[in-house]
């Protein structure tokens, strides 16, 4: 079994994003609202990770300093089920710091990753909210495809 470096590290994000996470993630929607078309992310970590990806892809400046109250949105244990993500976070940290010592500091790596995620979240939320008549899932997919095709 591959070791999860982030097992004991929590992800804290500003409270202002809480409702969006609840709205667009299936783990927090129930009953008739439990529809992937409207809540395209299976788990909250998927939404958080996409935000991170968008920031990285779009070259957004990571947000290390964020004002306001934060809450624990995701526990690091979740990366145990997706080892490639754990590696992706480490590679991102290496890339960001250019220092291999960072791999021995999970908190720092998560701080870096979260800074990217927080930089990408506003863009991601805008995409989700601007979907108009489309479903969130379809609109988001189209936007992502556009991102890949234009860069």
């Amino acid at each position: 079994m591959i070791h999860n470096s982030f097992a004991g590290v929590d992800i804290n994000i500003p409270e202002k994003y809480k409702d969006y996470f609840y709205q667009y993630c299936l783990t927090r929607t129930e009953g008739s609202k439990n529809d992937p078309e409207d809540s395209p992310f299976p788990r909250m970590v998927d939404m958080w990770f996409l935000a991170l990806c968008i920031a990285a892809k779009e070259g957004l400046t990571p947000k290390f300093e964020v004002e306001g109250k934060k809450y624990k949105a995701i526990e690091g244990v979740v990366f145990g089920s997706d080892p490639w993500r754990s590696n992706a976070l480490i590679l991102l940290s290496l890339s960001h710091t250019d220092d291999i010592n960072v791999v021995n500091d999970p908190n720092e790596m998560m701080r870096i990753a979260n800074a990217y995620a927080l930089a990408g979240l506003p863009r991601l939320i805008t995409m989700l909210e601007e979907r108009r008549a489309d479903s969130s899932l379809d609109y988001l997919s189209e936007e992502i495809e556009n991102m890949f095709s234009t860069h």
């Binding site: 992310f41 990806c53 490639w84 590696n87 791999v103």
Partner: protein
């Protein structure tokens, strides 16, 4: 018989009426013009009561009050006298004889409840010297006009339809009864009954004389028994056959109702179909959700990370590759050095033993190296693990891969969504159909049909069983008769009786033959006459490719109509109202014509539902075929027939119901009680009593008082 005059007192709304009927052979129609609810049917009933008594009333007079409805008396002592007096003439011994029949009854009415006493009837023959009472008046009247013929001569347009409408078995029975009564076939049947009595009496004589011949007595007894049994069985068979016909009709009707209902749509089936589609829809909905989940899972896919973080990964890869090149990946220093310490020489070949001064120094260096390596080992271990486990992430990926995966999943999802939409549309279509369907219980109709089918099957089996039984009994009878003949031939007395039996048997054969011949010949005559009359009435010109080509009465006494190419038509379904009435009137007139029975045809509303050519033609032919035609007509029936009536109507009356003021009547008749008024206005005239408002003012009145009120 011709009716000369009728005087009616207190017969329902006919409180005091005197009518003279036309007896002229050229102008043989008497027209009684009356709007609806103006006493036409009452007059028809009054004439029948006068001639036939309660037997001539609807439901044989049960629950049929005769006295005027507005007449209520104070006590039991007071009675309302009701009478109908009819003056008629008949041909008797080549002379015209006149008779007067007067039927009288009293009714007491207390608190709206009536009680009728026994009626009396008096028949007198009018002589030049005065009136001579006739003994047994009912018998005499029945001889002049048999009760069985009542429905032929006194009818209304609707009732006459029973000869061609209703259940086939009942239709055929009515037609058969009418033909039998009017053509005198009953007389022959009576003669057959007489012969049977003769046979019975002969059998009794044989039994009485057979005394010591036990065989002969037994055979004769058996013959008598069979001769009683067989007609009873035949009668039963006739009833069963008639019931079977009716059941087959019911089944056919239910079948047709079922087809009709199914054509509109089977609600039960549609509901089941809707349920099936609902299940399919739920499955399809699950498929859509599954496809959406697969779609959403794209965001968890490694490809996603590879593409988005490509640049970051490239930079990290460079760093890792450098470490690899530097030999820091994988981290193998410590094991190599530790392994070397176990040896006596270094990799370079120098001694590293403790005994040697330089070797010891070299050995200490290696130990220091091991200690330094241990410090960076954790990081190197992690970097090494990352280097190997992240290889997949670090591989170059085609940017189109995600797009292809997305398209594949998107299309699959769209197919699922499209399927769901189609099922939704199907569901809505079915629901709309269900909503539009009348609330017809198809299950019930089907059960009804099956019930009739089962009953018909049982009845058919009963028919076959009875038929076989009759054949067996007839065979037995024939064997017994032969045996009796042989036994009778043994002595002289027997021979004498046998010859009498033979005479009776021959006579029976002759009568049977005559009945059969008459039945066939007379039916053919009536059928042929009815056909020509009917076709003329409806103006069916064969050279013009008429839709109706022929009408006939079958040997089974059914009236059938044929269309083009001899295709049989169902009179109830395939003929319009006017043609159906024309057909029944043609049958009645043909029957009276062939029978040569001279009696008045009193018909209530014969031209209802008719118009144009058919109406005029029916009136013309009815006048031509009848010896005396008394027609009870509405204003609309008379409309456009005035010219024919100018030629054929000898007398015309108008009956008016004062209760129709002010809705229909123009003038207030000034009558305080309920009664029908008579005037002698003909079909072109109106007087103060019968003058009606024109159609426009009637319409205005109806609008203002009926529709206007309801608004």
């Amino acid at each position: 018989m011709k009716i000369l005059k009728a005087s009616i007192e207190n017969f329902r709304l006919l409180k005091s009426v005197d009518i003279r009927f036309s007896t002229s052979s050229k102008k043989n129609i008497t027209v009684i013009r009356a709007a609806n609810e103006s006493g036409k049917t009452t007059l028809l009933a009054a004439l029948q009561w006068g001639l036939f008594g309660d037997e001539g009333l609807p439901n044989k007079g049960r629950d049929f009050r005769l006295s005027p409805i507005d007449m209520t008396l104070g006590g039991e002592e007071e009675k309302i006298p009701i009478s109908v007096e009819i003056l008629f003439q008949i041909e008797e011994n080549n002379n015209i004889a006149k008779y007067r029949v007067r039927r009288y009854v009293e009714e007491s009415v207390i608190d709206g409840v009536y009680e009728r006493g026994s009626s009396t009837v008096m028949l007198t023959r009018i002589e030049t010297t005065g009136e001579e009472p006739v003994s047994y008046p009912e018998v005499k009247i029945r001889r002049i006009l048999p009760l069985e013929l009542r429905e032929i001569f006194f009818t209304d347009g609707d009732r006459a339809l029973s000869f061609i409408e209703g259940k086939r078995g009942d239709q055929m029975r009515r037609v058969k009864e009418a033909i039998k009564s009017l053509l005198g076939l009953d007389v022959i049947q009576d003669a057959q009954k007489h012969l049977k009595l003769v046979n019975t009496s002969l059998n009794n004589r044989i039994r009485a004389g057979a005394g010591n011949t036990a065989d002969l007595a037994k055979v004769t007894r058996d013959i008598s028994k069979l001769e009683e049994e067989i007609p009873e069985l035949e009668k039963k068979l006739e009833d069963v056959s008639s019931q079977l016909l009716n059941l087959e009709e019911y089944e056919k009707e239910a079948e047709s109702n079922l087809e009709e209902a199914l054509k509109k749509g089977n609600k039960e089936e549609l509901v089941q179909e809707a349920e099936r589609i609902q299940i399919k829809w739920k499955r399809a909905n699950e498929d859509v959700k599954k496809a959406a989940r697969e779609h959403a899972n794209l965001f968890k896919n490694i490809l996603f990370g590879q593409l988005f973080l490509k640049k970051k990964f490239q930079k990290a890869k460079k760093l890792l590759d450098k470490l690899y090149d530097q030999g820091q990946i994988p981290n193998q220093t410590i094991p190599v050095l530790e392994e070397r310490l176990k040896q006596t020489t270094c990799i370079c070949g120098e001694l590293i033993t403790e005994n040697d001064k330089d070797g010891k120094k070299r050995r200490e260096n290696i130990k220091t190296l091991i200690e330094a390596s241990r410090k960076s080992d954790i990081i190197q271990e992690k970097i090494s693990a990352l280097y190997y486990s992240a290889q997949e992430l670090l591989q170059p990926v085609d940017v189109n891969l995600w797009s292809e995966k997305y398209k594949e999943i998107f299309n699959s999802k769209q197919r699922a969504i499209q399927h769901l939409r189609e099922l939704g549309q199907e569901q809505r279509d079915i629901e709309t159909k269900i909503e539009k369907l009348p609330d017809v219980d198809i299950k019930n109709i089907r059960e009804k049909k099956n019930r009739f089918k089962e009953q018909a099957r049982k009845k058919h089996a009963e028919e076959i069983k009875l038929s076989n039984l009759i054949s067996t009994k007839e065979r037995e009878l024939s064997e017994y008769i032969e045996k009796r003949q042989r036994l009778l031939h043994k002595d002289e007395k027997g021979k004498k009786i046998n010859s009498e039996i033979e005479v009776a048997s021959d006579l029976e054969k002759i009568l049977n033959g005559a009945l059969e011949t008459m039945r066939n010949r007379e039916i053919e005559k009536v059928s042929s006459k009815m056909n020509s009359l009917f076709l003329e009435m409806i103006g069916a010109d064969q050279s013009q490719r008429a839709v109706i080509t022929k009408a006939e009465i079958t040997k089974e006494f059914q009236i059938i109509v044929y269309g083009m190419h001899g295709h049989p038509l169902d009179p109830t379904e395939d003929l319009n109202g006017a043609s159906r009435r024309a057909l029944t009137l043609a049958f009645i007139l043909a029957l009276t014509n062939v029978s040569e029975v001279e009696a008045p045809n009193v018909i209530d509303t014969p031209l209802g539902m008719m118009s144009g050519y058919v109406k005029k033609s029916v009136l013309f032919h009815a006048a031509k075929e009848s010896s005396q035609l008394i027609l009870l007509l509405t204003h609309s029936e008379i409309n456009n027939c005035e010219n024919i009536l100018d030629d054929k109507a000898g007398r015309v009356y108008t009956m008016t119901n004062p209760a129709h003021y002010p809705n229909i009547l123009l003038n207030d008749p000034g009558i305080s009680d309920s009664r029908i008024l008579f005037c002698e206005c003909n079909y072109r005239e109106e007087c103060k009593i019968c003058e009606r408002k024109d159609d426009t003012s009637n319409t205005e009145y109806f609008y203002n008082n009926e529709i206007g009120e309801s608004k």
